[in-house]
Amino acid sequence: MLMSEDRRSYTLDSTLETVDNAEQAASEIAAANGFGDDECLQIAMAVREAAVNAVLHGNAYDPEKKVRLDFERVKGDLIITIRDQGKGLDLGKIPDPLSPDNLLKTSGRGIFLIRSFMDEVEIHPSKTGTEIKLIKHVHGAPAGGKEASQ
């Protein structure tokens, strides 16, 4: 793990444990940056969903492929970037889970939940992987990135 005052970076294996660790880290860093309980939960869930996509759909559990997770505090924003080494997400294939045809589908809600919980979401697919950037505006008083527990 790399760490500086306003930035934390993790390189993680393509495992389910990574998903739990990413969620936990997000929750702790969100709390340390002044977010309330509900917002911490939303941020942690969004990161969990993005990590699931990276591990499961992006890297397909390939032990040779890693997931890169960056937390960055930029002015009034907490910016979280999750990057996988998969074939790149096809944005045209992201379903609308609220469509009546999809309502009873058992998958396809991850990106929707991420968009619901974060203020801004950017998805950048490429042939060498997908990068998803999650942005949450900080409304509360920041405690500073240094205080985030590890």
Binding site: R48, V52, L98, S107, R109, L113
Partner: protein
């Protein structure tokens, strides 16, 4: 904490008391197996008590949908009981709150089965 389930029977209805997290991996598998086992035994009237489920992710939501459709396709009924605020909110934003029959009182929930 991963999901734990305990079954009990009230007036011919199987109430599955769930506690923990329904998430990708073990949590979802535990729920899937619990419902599958009940259907194998012919118990098709199932009330999932989610009062102690404090966390659910998109995979967990998918597992609830799967349980609902699987039971329904076998001629049974599956209802949800005692949603926590977090789970309630998730079902609201995914528009599934109106798909499931959600109850907050066990006695009336049991009586609601046909």
């Amino acid at each position: 904490m991963n999901l734990k389930t305990t079954n009990r029977e009230v007036d011919g209805i199987t109430i599955v008391d769930c506690s923990g997290r329904i998430t990708l991996g073990e949590g979802s598998v535990v729920l899937r197996d619990a419902v599958k086992e009940l259907l194998t035994k012919g118990q098709k009237k199932i009330l999932l008590n989610l009062g102690d489920v404090n966390y659910i992710d998109s995979s967990g939501i998918g597992e609830l949908v799967s349980a609902y459709t699987t039971v329904r396709n076998q001629g049974g009924e599956l209802k949800l009981l005692n949603l926590t605020k977090k789970v309630h909110d998730l079902l609201q934003i995914t528009k599934l709150y109106t798909v499931f029959d959600v109850r907050d009182d066990e006695t009336t929930a049991v009586k609601a089965f046909r």
